[in-house]
């Protein structure tokens, strides 16, 4: 088109500077990490281990989906990990103590996440508390509530097991795709958890690209004041974004409870950083306005592949933290370099 030639008057960005490039870079990094570990350890590229990586990615990936929306608005959510745990505990209470059917338990878990997300949104957009502080508070609240609720049954803090409802574990651990995949890759047990992650990612991508919520998330992150002056009710939409983030945390809570066949009330701290790391590695800018779901999924895979590979190489867990931390700093630094040159 003629017009395009007219509009790109700004100096052309170098390849490294675009967000697409960071995604490409992240994908290349994932491949490189995979190849390196395959060469270093014979146990890495086995079907069982790859299933392990996929499973490990599922929960963190779903958390990261919600965080993606929030970071796109130039916000942050530190509460996703403990909200996930609270949701898991709520599902556990609903299914084991209240004796509700499993589907109801799932809804209870997801709604718990959504409610806490809504609370985050109100605190941030109505009370005007900075997202970092607001969600730090919620992180502690959710953690405390999860521990309190877990004492209801026995009086002491104990995990809630789903031993009476075996179907609950199958939600994530069985493989409805097995009959389809088995003829292609024999023995490859593609767990439902990963399927759920991919479906959730498709929904998230749809919301981001095709709905008003996604559009306003980008608009607010790009220029909040301009969005307000355009007549958009910024407070309400921001609240909605945090509620959406909470909904994904709720889903992650159900998934982790299913995977562990129990709600572990002490779990959850640290998950938020892994989720934020996945989002940032995937090229979503911490200053808001841009980010993609595909990038986040790649980011989540990089983190779990790296963690898994290091574990297989017998690197102690302490050092895995160190490596993950360094990777996050590197990813954010790349984002800053990109921004500076614009």
């Amino acid at each position: 088109m003629m017009a395009t030639a007219e509009t790109t008057l700004k100096p052309k960005q170098s390849i490294l500077q675009s967000s697409a490039a960071q995604k490409l870079l992240a994908f290349a990094a994932l491949i490189v990490i995979f190849i390196v570990f395959s060469l270093l350890s014979p146990f890495f590229a086995t079907p069982e281990n790859i299933v392990g990586i996929l499973l490990a990615t599922a929960v963190n990936g779903v958390l990261a989906l919600g965080v993606t929306f929030i970071i796109i608005t130039a916000g942050i959510d530190l509460s996703v990990g403990t909200v996930m745990t609270l949701s898991a505990v709520m599902t556990g209470l609903a299914v084991t103590i209240a004796g509700l059917p499993v589907p109801v338990g799932i809804v209870v878990g997801i709604l718990t996440g959504a409610t806490i997300g809504l609370f985050n949104g109100i605190v941030i957009s109505r009370m005007r508390i900075p997202p970092f502080i607001a969600t730090l508070g919620t992180m502690m609240i959710a953690r405390g509530l999860a521990l309190v609720l877990a004492t209801i049954e026995t009086g002491t803090i104990k995990p809630i097991y789903f031993n009476d409802t075996p179907i609950f574990r199958q939600i994530t651990m069985s493989s409805i795709l097995a009959p389809l995949l088995d003829p292609i890759i024999p023995g490859f047990n593609f767990p439902n958890a990963v399927l759920i992650l991919f479906i959730a990612a498709l929904i998230a991508a749809f919301i981001l690209a095709k709905t008003v919520l996604g559009r306003y998330a980008i608009a607010m992150g790009s220029n909040e004041e301009a969005t307000r002056l355009s007549g958009v009710n910024v407070a309400n939409w921001k609240t909605a974004v945090y509620a959406l983030g909470g909904t994904f945390s709720g889903l992650a809570g159900v998934m982790i409870a299913s995977r562990l066949n129990s709600a572990q009330p002490a779990l959850g701290v640290g998950y938020e950083l892994e989720a934020i790391a996945a989002v940032v590695i995937g090229g979503t800018s911490l200053s808001g306005g841009e980010g993609t779901i595909l990038g986040t999924i790649i980011g989540a895979f990089i983190i779990s592949t790296l963690t898994n590979g290091l574990r297989i190489m017998n690197v102690p867990q302490e050092w895995q933290f160190v490596v993950t931390g360094l990777i996050v700093i590197l990813a954010v630094y790349l984002d800053i370099l990109r921004r500076r040159r614009l």
Partner: protein
Amino acid sequence: MGEVLLSMEGIDKSFPGVHALDRAQFELRTGEVHALVGENGAGKSTLMKILAGIYAKDAGVILYRGQDVDIPNPRTAQHLGISMIHQELNLMNHLTLAQNVFVGREPRRGFGLMLDESKINAQTQGLFDSMRLRLDPRTKAADLTVAKQQMVEIAKALSFNSQVLIMDEPTAALTDAEIEELFRIIHQLREKGVGIVYISHRLEELKRISDRITVMRDGRYVDTVDAATVTIDRIISMMVGRTIYESAPEVPEQPSQEVVLEVRHLNRGAAIKDVSFKLNRGEILGFAGLMGAGRTEVARAVFGADAVDSGEIFIKGQQVAISSPRDAVEHGIGYLSEDRKRYGLAVGLDVESNIALASFTQFTEMLGMVNSDKIRATADHYVSALAIKTPSIQQRVRNLSGGNQQKVVIGKWLTADTEILIFDEPTRGIDVGAKSEIYRLLNDLAGQGKSIIMISSELPEILRMSHRIVVMCEGRITGELTASEATQEGIMRLATQRSVIVANNGSPANPIEAK
């Protein structure tokens, strides 16, 4: 020009400490380009922001098509057909042009759940076509030049079927070719009966583009004149008017001829273009110009706060390399920012800590121990020498008045043994009484042999304080005046002088510069 579209009468607006509008009035007709002019702070933008629903008026009436209307928010303004294009552009860089145009009122499909991207692209294309703009609606806003972004903002305004379009300094960042394009579109809109309010400092432009010109001064309406017949001189004299400083300018004693600071051929992108000047010992050199003329940029460059493309700085005849504020401080240069709270003071700290802030090495002993007695003595000295009104030197600076905060900053730089002080809008946000104290202090400092650069947008202040006045416009120095030859009109003329005028005519556009 058609019938009266809009009239604002008796508009009053106060902000804390400022009476921004005092019974201001304005009238707009259909198919008219109505220019609104005045000095910085005259109330033009405030008046228009009230019309656009961004500020609420304290008193007054807005009649729109004969109806008394209330405009509490931007949305109501949009519904009435009033749009404002702000000085700082308001596009969302990460969205496409079409998404920007329709943000807040996206057409939906799929049970109201999904955005109808093809529809907004088509409608935006239609808008662009009607404006004869060759832009692709799917381009990201970030990929456009400022000029094109401005066109997109106009398109966005038109998409509301705007009958009133307010443009705040639309040409400030445009090249000449881009201005022509803007004017073409403005003419086109005028043909369609849209009423256009055009706020600008560029007086020679107004004669070309506008039908009528309304002048404001100190928040008040001065007069509305016919653009075709009025002279630029007349507009300037209306803008400047009489001032609140009736006292005769106190031109300080002549400084020595010893050059303390010399800047040669300073360049930084479009912000600073070939700026050269000299500063003598004991001199107050005024830097006049309108906002965005590049004065602060020059100050920051000399102070090493921003990197420059080229240029040389000499201090007492010696060429020096200043690449950071630290270098500048070592060479005895202090910079007092216009934004004291952000750049000048640690407002959460007390008076003594702030005074010691730029010179902690003086107060540091072996092993990095801070000598608090010495700090206290120094702080006490400056509190009394500068007459800083504070209950104690342990008072947090946040709790002091603007004038006293400014004195604390001055104390800080004096402690750091600076010989050259750059004051950027030294009296901004300071009440009238404290202003004269700051003036006296500046005179005293100059009398003691300090050399001072004073950037100010207040002409009376510049005239009253300076030995010499350098006037800037769009990154260039457009003239230099001595205290005796400078007048408000003369400065204003230089401050609004665009490069094209000089280039096209080949001769200076006014007699003052010829001197």
